[in-house]
């Protein structure tokens, strides 16, 4: 039994229902059939069993191979598998917004979505925003970094900085949908991101500035 057979209208000869009704030992034995590499990377898997499998994720415009288990979250794949440590593991359930990335252009908490569910969809992390992120630590060349990052720097919108990457990605998603947002709409729209330092007083004006800048064409 392999994933391809299972996907073919369930005619693999082993009923999936019988699989789960069987003894624990039988189920475990069946589950071991798929080893690493058995999942075709070109097609979305139909069944992926326990253990490591190599998948390809579209991260920041690049096709990147990464080993994941079914239980691996997108956040773990990014941080541990691809060394993209911008998105942060702040809350277990995504309630802080600290792990926000764009998946197919939509804001998602990378720690509440399985890596396997993200195959074939463009993923953008804070590392994928325009320019070289190291520019933030030195002289800020206008235009070298993303306007949202630049506004965060200009407004000193980070304190400890742990929530900042999630916030920046949430702002990107929010402004993509609401490019002319008012301050009140910005406050409401960013409710999914928490900052324990309380830097909201600087984040909100930073986002207001991005809206103004876009209006002025800068």
């Amino acid at each position: 039994m392999n994933p391809t057979e299972l996907s073919a209208h369930g005619k693999s000869g082993v009923s999936r229902r019988a699989f789960l009704k069987g003894s624990g030992a039988a189920a475990a034995a069946t589950a071991l059939v798929h080893g690493p590499g058995l999942v075709a990377e070109e097609t979305k898997p139909n069944v992926v069993s326990v253990g490591l499998n190599t998948i390809t994720l579209d991260v920041n415009g690049k096709q990147q191979k990464v080993d994941v288990e079914p239980r691996t979250t997108l956040l773990e794949a990014l941080r541990l598998g691809l060394n993209l440590t911008g998105a942060k593991p702040i809350s277990v359930d995504g309630s802080s917004g600290g792990s926000t990335v764009l998946l197919g252009g939509k804001p998602v908490s990378a720690n509440s979505i399985l890596a396997l569910e993200c195959i074939g969809k463009p993923i953008v992390t804070v590392e994928g925003l325009g320019g070289n992120s190291t520019a933030i630590s030195g002289e800020i060349a206008v235009g070298a970094i993303d306007p949202v990052c630049r506004a965060f720097v200009n407004h000193d919108a980070s304190q400890c900085g742990f929530c900042t990457p999630g916030f920046v990605m949430a702002v990107k998603a929010f402004l993509a949908k609401n490019p002319k947002a008012t301050e009140a709409q910005i406050r409401e729209g960013l409710n999914g991101n928490l900052c324990r330092c309380g830097t909201y007083a600087n984040v909100i004006p930073a986002v207001v500035d991005v809206v103004k800048g876009a209006r002025n064409g800068s």
């Binding site: 789960l20 239980r71 359930d93 999914g192």
Partner: protein, 329 residues
């Protein structure tokens, strides 16, 4: 998380074949915003997770003269932005109140209805009923039920869309392993108050799934929902109320008032609805409906405060449904 097998069926039929009749062996994955947190904390430990993401029929919204037919995998954002949902401000208000763009774009309608309770005894591994309810009755129950709490279940139904949908007369299409398992039932029948540890808070068998939600045309009904929240953040509300009314010629001829976050199920307040019939909606009558709603409240040791919040929520939901100012914010 415990290791599990992942299945991504392409059709409703295939999804059903992957599900086990044994409670807890398989879990259905929709948006993941609730299930992944539960699995990380080992509150649920399935051997197989069945993702509905690739089942195309669950992703569509169909609008016609019969109303709205919304697939269980439609995201909250897609539902909010759909032109046909403008006739259901109660639903739109409930989605906007969720107030996290991540939850709105990732969370699905089916998942919102099937999410597990937020009860901290449950989330800390004491089980849904936590020692037949005694641990909760004698413990910190500030966020627990004030209605329908005489049995072991003290938790509250966490769904924020269910009150609005039930007030609007929504039905749910549930499918199961056999053709005769398919049923279309009033949405309120999806929820139940468990009486023992083997029951969950939904009436679904372990191998059944919610496929679609069917919303009838709004017709002449005014509808609104109102949440009382601790702050403007993404937290769950303390109490919520949704109301639909038909008021022709200035007096109410039909009313349905459903409360959220106050009972183990969405709580249909027949008392509140009866009190407003044949009357015009104004501050006084809407307030009286709130009083009627709480006339059957049985608060626990630490949640008496919810009684007053229910009065306010019912009053403001009714005023909003009638197109009036609420007097609050």
């Amino acid at each position: 998380m415990k290791a599990f097998e992942y299945a991504a069926p392409r059709s409703e039929q295939e999804a059903l074949e992957f599900l086990s009749a044994d409670r807890g062996r398989t879990e259905v994955l929709a948006g993941g915003t609730d299930l992944l947190g539960l699995m990380k904390k080992l509150i649920v430990t399935p051997d197989r997770v069945v993702s509905l993401r690739q089942v195309g029929s669950l992703h569509t919204i169909d609008a016609d003269s019969q109303g709205l037919r919304v697939g269980a995998m439609v995201t909250l954002e897609e539902l909010l932005d759909h032109p046909a949902s403008a006739q259901y401000p109660a639903v739109q208000q409930a989605i906007r109140s969720i107030s996290s763009q991540q939850l709105q774009s990732q969370g699905t309608l089916g998942g919102e209805l099937c999410q597990r309770p937020r009860c901290w005894y449950f989330r800390d591994g004491h089980g849904l009923l936590a020692e037949s309810g005694t641990a909760i009755a004698e413990g910190d129950n500030r966020y627990h039920a004030i209605f329908g709490n005489s049995g072991p279940a003290k938790f509250v139904c966490p769904s924020r869309l269910a009150p609005a949908l039930i007030a609007l007369g929504a039905r749910v299409r549930v499918i199961g392993p056999n053709a005769e398992d398919e049923t279309v039932m009033p949405l309120e029948h999806l929820f139940r108050t468990p009486k023992h540890d083997q029951q969950r808070e939904h009436s679904l068998a372990p191998d059944q799934i919610v496929a679609q939600i069917l919303l009838p045309p709004v017709g002449e009904r005014g509808n609104a929902s109102y949440e009382v929240r601790h702050g403007a953040g993404p937290e769950y509300p303390l109490v919520a109320a949704a109301a639909t009314i038909v008021a022709i010629g200035g007096v109410v001829s039909e009313a349905r008032i459903v409360l959220g976050q106050v009972a183990p199920t969405p709580w249909i307040s027949a008392e509140a609805a009866a009190s407003i019939i044949s009357l015009p909606v104004n501050e006084e009558t809407a307030g009286a409906a709130g009083d009627a709603a709480v006339s059957v409240a049985t608060p626990l040791s630490h949640n008496e405060y919810k009684v007053q919040l229910v009065r306010v929520a019912v009053k403001r939901a009714l005023l909003l449904a009638a197109g009036l100012e609420t007097g609050g914010f």
